[in-house]
Amino acid sequence: MKRYSLLRLVREGLAGHTGWDPAWRKATLKDRYDAVIIGGGGHGLATAYYLASVHGMTDIAVIEKGWIGGGNAGRNTTIIRSNYLNDESAAIYDHALSLWKTLGRELNFNIMMSHRGVLNLAHDEHEARQVKRRVEANRLNGVEAEWLDARQVAEFCPVINMSPSARYPVIGASLQRSGGVNRHDAVVWGFARAASDLGVDIVEQTEVTDIRVEAGAVTAVETSRGTVRTPKVASVVAGHSSVIAGMVGVRLPIQSHPLQALVSEPIKPVLDCVVMSNAVHAYCSQSDKGELVIGAGIDHHNSYTQRGQIGMIEHQLGAIKEVFPIFSRLRMLRQWGGIVDVCPDASPIITATPVKGFFLNGGWGTGGWKATPGSGHAFADLVANGEPNRIAAPFALDRFVSGALVAEHGAAAVAH
């Protein structure tokens, strides 16, 4: 891999940029691999990268039905934070946050990790109590977080509507200063480039149509480009988790719901942090390009349509206008829908299954992006060793039978 650097940029600039190579190889699908990862999103590519870089498994393929990063990776609002309530969640999300901090350098790809701070607003005493509990839990878990009262919120983010007569007045917020946003495409491409460089085959425009199981173990995947023999299949397909798991007869407690998002036209910097509000169902940040990136609530019904839907968006913009009254005259530039895979306890599933060699990572709901490197790191460990490590273990599928749920409704109630 030819490294990216300022020097190289200058040199290539003088040479007419003829020396840049493809970021990742356009691999041809082989007929066998040590492991096949289904899904070329952030989590899938991270899994491949860590399998190759940490576990030395390089004879692996990432099979993507469309173009890499075209699913939820390319549709999310890139909020990064780790201020989750439960110990189990804090462990995986904070692991991810620590990886995010150095990921750009590690991948030699600027993922534009901007630790600009994430505010979670509290609008009434009930919320404030929950937020304070979470902030304290975070502190004791070594997760950076703090409580801001109303005046501190107003100072930290002056564009928030702090009027005491607002329908949902802001009475405080949690702040995670190390939280922030990054550039989703860069993460996808950076992982792809680094994984490809380590020998991972990234095969796009290829759809898995079936998975072959013999004597209770995975033996091959059938794809639109032919059969691929492999002893290990790792499904990392977010909204389509149930579809892939269904191929090997594994049932999941996952439901796939539509989630809407939008961006505004680009404007000069006006919002310097990420703001999230459960009560009014708003969350918003401003991209480096200047667009306000806004996520809407999740629809309750199941759907795979990825259709831009309007009712949720109208409601959402009402909420945004409530929190940020000065945004009213700005304009929505694009809206889109994604499919989120939601678990009953609002926590993900990282698991081995009764089918030997079939592993699944999914159920991240609306909060998967922030976990990308941590999820890939822990899942790679599971795929390589067959046993979950400390971070992955609490997220196994059997928790729904034992009742050991990791309830994160409070932290994840708002989409992000």
Partner: protein, 1038 residues
């Protein structure tokens, strides 16, 4: 400094305007009008009797009513209005409509009333309008950002992915610079005072587009009696007809006459809505099409009707939709194709015919089809000199060259532009002949011009069709996508369907309109096709070569808003970002505020060219809503500010406000939190209110509790199934507390249910749970147990509730009640009785949430404000004190009662709450019971509810603080045993009390644990106790 980009004769243009000088005959106005050097002597839809003065970057500009900012500036010789996003190169007006990519300006200077990124081609002018350039500093003419252009070779697409990778957090430093340079206009600084609204509208036929096809469709549909909506994005109906050759005749009428006649016909129908300045921005599921109507953005603020909203969001449900959205002309790709003064040929015609403005006096025309000839001839007829027609084809279509020759226009066949010059406006083009491979041959020839019209072929405007999820088809002949298979009930007509001939557009529109009405169940017959005399030249045979070799080499722009060049796209392919979506995201092509309307096809062509593929193999991107950017305000509609969400208030609200209450929100409700007296802090008030409820009488407004009337013979069976405890033996007249679990075994609500009769119960729920509990109960009743003879009806607000508590309450009750002896002996705890107060029927419940002597009076809500005041008056001798929710929380905590949602968080079972007695083992199954025996749920070391007493009675723990085992905080991660759920200073006990959930808490009685301090510090030692602090006190333990 001159306003004009190029015309030296305009150097003296400088006058003051106050926005009022628009009266005809006004001398200033006349002088100003005379200074529009590019204004045609006559023609256009503008009103020459109404000069309009506005400012651009503070400099006065004159136009006429009917002008847009773009047409008025061009009339004054100004094309250069903006700077590009990345390289800050000068940007002009490319098209005359909403597809214009880069002519973006900031409108208005008021803190609250400024609109960034407004398209100059769409903003109509009015007197006093203030327009500013944006994304340039210190000024449009001298912008330091242009340094980016100087160093452009080091700033290819995606350069930022390849550098700035310093140590953690270092991106933040670079980011600051990049962010400041990015963005376009500025957000307002103050809240928007304007109003917006939504209108839900149903119709049989929605016609999108007021051009010839749309007008024909609307007429045909309207004649059947169907409800029709016709929406047109611009200020008036007519579409391309407003730009057509005035010599055109339709049924003998000029275009303007025909449009007027069609509009008059349409307005004669009752059920036809004509909406101008209205853009169909989103085509959603089930034929919902949203329209964005701008009512006043074109008006002088003083002229705006305050009764009307600024903008409307029409949510149209149409049985059938006719898309007559026209076509968009593509620019050509050649080096230096981004200079101001370069406009599409169709835009040049629109400026000439619709606005009476010439885009230049010496116009060159570059084309790859016959439409360029049409434009050249008509622009010449309109008064411009035509420098030359440069046709990249070897030969024009039949008649095209002849017509040009007859008009005295020189034509260069088989030639293309290889470079341009002109700093703020195009001044020269260099042309070379094309060789067999399309590469330049022969000697360069430089031609002077002050404008360049480019004709790259028409793309049907298929955005809405694509949003409807229709499938596109690539049409080789026109080099663009056309509507293919429909998914929703819509049809395209006219240019948006790839039909460009006027007669055919009219016929296709009429056919589509009639078919739509028939499909919606209306009857009608086709009218006769109009006779059309039209000499316009259509595109003819289009040159399929979009990317000539010269365009690959030089600085040829694909996207002039985001500053993406052909080289950038080729580099993207080289680096493997070859799929359309990757290339688009890597280079940002087509992702500007113009949604890539004029960009996308050319971009696909570049990708195909680089990969030696045919264009359709590259594919197209998704056309996402909205068609063009729509204000947040109009999307939010009227549900904003005070109207955002309902604030539910009880009948006692006005009294509470008058008596100094501070409120807290509880779901949608506002509840009085405490009633501080003058000079009293809220905390002091809570202590006083609590003491009153313990020592005298306190009164709480408990009206917000959910209430459900349950009737039916199987009501007891039903209660047995939904509550954890047993209900079979509850006698009429008695009340019982119940816990509800979800199927996961976790506590989800609680409340008291009263037996009114064997087949009639009155259930209460928490305030927040009222709606969800009823829905949940109905779900089970309707879908699992439909045979149960049980019916549920919410009565939450039928009954207002005054909860009276304290030792003197029986005395007060005796004074109040007409016909009931309240003596606790004869009217025991957990009983209820009907009674009257001053003849008004009430229900009195002997239930308590304080642990003290309590009575709850339920009264029909309309009497409750009166009753509340009556009780206050009657209670005054007893020291009655109204108390709010905080004192209520404190009182119940003293008694060890839980609050669902505060002491529980969806992960607590009744066992965890140590309310085992509430779980009936005898009665059989109930919702959630099975989950209690799951291995993890049955663990005995789960978090359990306990009381905590601090060693120091004055220390009040912080709610949300965590319980740990050690006297010092170890290094993270600190093992947490649980957390404090409720914490108060109890005036009754004279010390602090707290409830907490603690791992294995039930087995830890009298154990010393520690509670963390927020932010750190030495933890606070506490002793684990039972939760009923009043009993502890009585027993001398606290």
């Amino acid at each position: 400094m001159t306003l004009s980009d190029s015309a030296p004769e305009d150097r003296s243009l400088a006058f003051r305007t106050d926005g009022s000088a628009h009266e005809p005959g006004d001398r200033t106005a006349l002088r100003a009008a005379s200074r529009q050097p590019y204004r045609r002597a006559s023609g256009g839809r503008i009103d020459r009797s109404k000069p309009v003065h506005f400012t651009f970057d503070g400099k006065p500009v004159s136009g006429y009513a009917g002008d847009t900012v773009a047409s008025a500036l061009i009339a004054n010789g100004v094309h250069f209005v903006a700077r590009g996003f990345k390289y800050h190169r000068p940007r002009g007006i490319l098209t005359a409509g909403s597809d214009d990519p880069a002519g973006l300006v900031q409108v208005g200077s008021h803190d609250a009333l400024t609109d960034p990124n407004t398209r100059a081609t769409e903003q109509e002018i009015y007197p006093g309008l203030e327009v500013f350039s944006q994304n340039a500093w210190p000024s449009l003419a001298f912008d330091v950002g242009v340094l980016n252009d100087v160093f452009h070779r080091f700033l290819p697409s995606g350069f930022y992915y390849k550098t700035f990778m310093g140590p953690p957090g270092s991106w933040m430093g670079f980011e600051k610079i990049i962010r400041a340079a990015a963005g376009l206009g500025r957000a307002p600084k103050a809240p928007d005072p304007d109003r917006y609204e939504h209108v839900n509208h149903h119709c049989e036929v929605l016609v999108v587009g007021g051009g010839p096809a749309g007008l024909s469709a609307a007429l045909a549909a309207a004649r059947t009696g169907a409800r029709v909506v016709l929406c047109e994005e611009t200020a008036e109906l007519g579409g391309w007809l407003l730009s057509a050759d005035p010599a055109t005749r339709i049924d003998g009428l000029s275009p303007a006459e025909w449009i007027a006649a069609a509009e008059a016909d349409l307005r004669a129908f009752d059920d036809v809505h004509i909406l101008t300045r209205t853009c169909a921005y989103g085509y959603y599921a089930e034929n919902q099409v949203n329209l964005w109507e701008k009512l006043s953005d074109h008006q002088l603020p003083a002229d705006r009707d305050p009764a009307l909203p600024r903008q409307r969001n029409w949510r149209v449900r149409a049985r059938e939709v006719v898309l007559a959205t026209g076509a968009l002309e593509r620019p050509l790709l050649f080096p230096g194709n981004d200079r101001p003064g370069i406009v599409t040929a169709s835009a040049a015609l629109t400026f000439a015919e619709r606005y009476g403005v010439l885009v230049g006096h010496r116009i060159a025309v570059a084309t790859n089809n016959d439409a360029g000839y049409d434009a050249a001839c008509r622009l010449k007829a309109a008064g411009a000199d035509i420098v030359s027609v440069i046709d990249q084809r070897e030969a024009a279509g039949i008649g095209a060259a002849e017509r040009a020759s007859a008009a005295g226009i020189s034509v260069r066949h088989g030639a293309a532009i290889v470079s341009t010059s002109g700093r703020k406006r195009i001044a020269r083009i260099t042309v070379r002949a094309l060789g067999a491979d399309g590469g330049p041959t022969g000697s360069p020839e430089t031609l002077a011009c002050d404008a360049l019209a480019v004709a790259g072929g028409y793309s049907p405007n298929v955005a809405l069709f694509s949003q409807s999820r229709g499938q596109l088809r690539y049409d080789e002949a026109i080099g663009a996508f056309v509507p293919g298979h429909s998914v929703q009930r819509e049809r395209s007509a006219g240019a948006s369907a790839g039909t460009f001939d006027l007669g055919a557009c009219l016929a296709e529109g009429a056919k589509a309109g009639l078919e739509a009405a028939l499909a919606a169940g209306f009857a009608g017959e086709a009218g006769s096709a109009p006779s059309v005399e039209d000499s316009a030249l259509l595109a003819g045979r289009l040159d399929p070569r979009v990317v000539l070799p010269a365009a690959r080499a030089g600085r040829t722009f694909i996207d002039v808003q985001n500053d993406v060049t052909v080289k950038d796209l080729r580099l993207a392919v080289q680096e493997g970002y070859s799929s359309v979506e990757h290339a688009k995201r890597y280079t940002t092509t087509g992702m500007g505020t113009d949604q890539g309307k004029t960009v996308n096809i050319n971009a696909f062509a570049v990708l195909a060219d680089k990969q030696a593929l045919k264009l359709p193999a590259v594919g197209t991107t998704t056309f996402r809503q909205p068609y063009k950017p729509v204000t947040f305000g109009v999307m939010a509609g009227a549900h904003t500010g005070a109207h955002f969400q309902p604030r539910r208030t009880t009948p006692m609200h006005d009294w509470q406000v008058a008596n100094g209450a501070i409120f807290e929100t509880s779901g949608d409700w506002l509840r009085a939190w405490t009633y501080p007296r003058p000079g009293e802090t809220p905390e002091e008030a809570v202590q006083r209110e609590t003491r009153a409820a313990r020592e005298a009488i306190g009164m709480l407004d408990a009206s917000t509790l959910g209430k459900i009337d349950i009737q039916g013979a199987d009501a007891r069976t039903f209660l047995n199934r939904v509550y954890t405890n047993a209900w079979s033996k509850l006698a009429p007249g008695r009340c019982r507390y119940g816990l509800m679990l979800n199927e996961d075994g976790m506590v989800m609500d609680d409340g008291v249910t009263t037996c009114i009769a064997d087949d009639h119960f009155h259930m209460t729920t928490t305030t927040g749970g009222a709606a969800s509990v009823l829905a949940w109960l109905e779900d089970y009743l309707q879908t699992e147990w439909p045979d149960l003879d049980v019916r549920l009806t919410t009565v939450t607000e039928q009954w207002a509730v005054a909860s009276l508590s304290g030792p003197k309450t029986p005395e007060l009750m005796a004074a109040l009640l007409d016909d009931l002896d309240p003596d606790p002996e004869s009217f025991p705890f957990m009983a209820w009785k009907p009674a009257h107060i001053d003849g008004v029927p009430v229900r009195v419940f002997r239930i308590s949430f304080t642990g003290g002597v309590s009575y709850e009076i339920n009264v029909a809500a309309s009497y409750s404000a009166w009753l509340w005041e009556k009780i206050m008056a009657a209670g005054a001798p007893f020291g009655i004190t109204p108390y709010g929710t905080e004192a209520m929380h404190l009182l119940r905590a003293e008694a060890g009662f839980i609050i669902v949602g505060q002491d529980t968080d969806g992960t607590m079972t009744p066992i965890d709450l140590r309310m085992d007695k509430m779980v009936s083992q005898a009665k059989g199954d109930f919702i959630g019971k099975r989950s209690l025996s799951r291995p993890d749920t049955a663990r005995t070391d789960r978090r359990q509810l306990v009381g905590l007493l601090t060693d120091d009675p004055a220390t009040v723990l912080v709610e949300g603080a965590h319980v740990i085992a050690t006297a010092e905080e170890p290094a993270p991660p600190v093992p947490m045993l649980g957390h404090v759920t409720s914490s108060y200073f109890s005036p009754t006990l004279g010390r602090s009390i707290a409830l907490a959930v603690v791992k294995g808490g039930g087995g830890r009685m009298d154990e010393t644990l520690h509670v963390t301090r927020p932010g750190g510090g030495t933890p606070i030692p506490v002793t684990v106790t039972e939760v009923d602090f009043l009993s502890l006190k009585d027993a001398g333990h606290a």
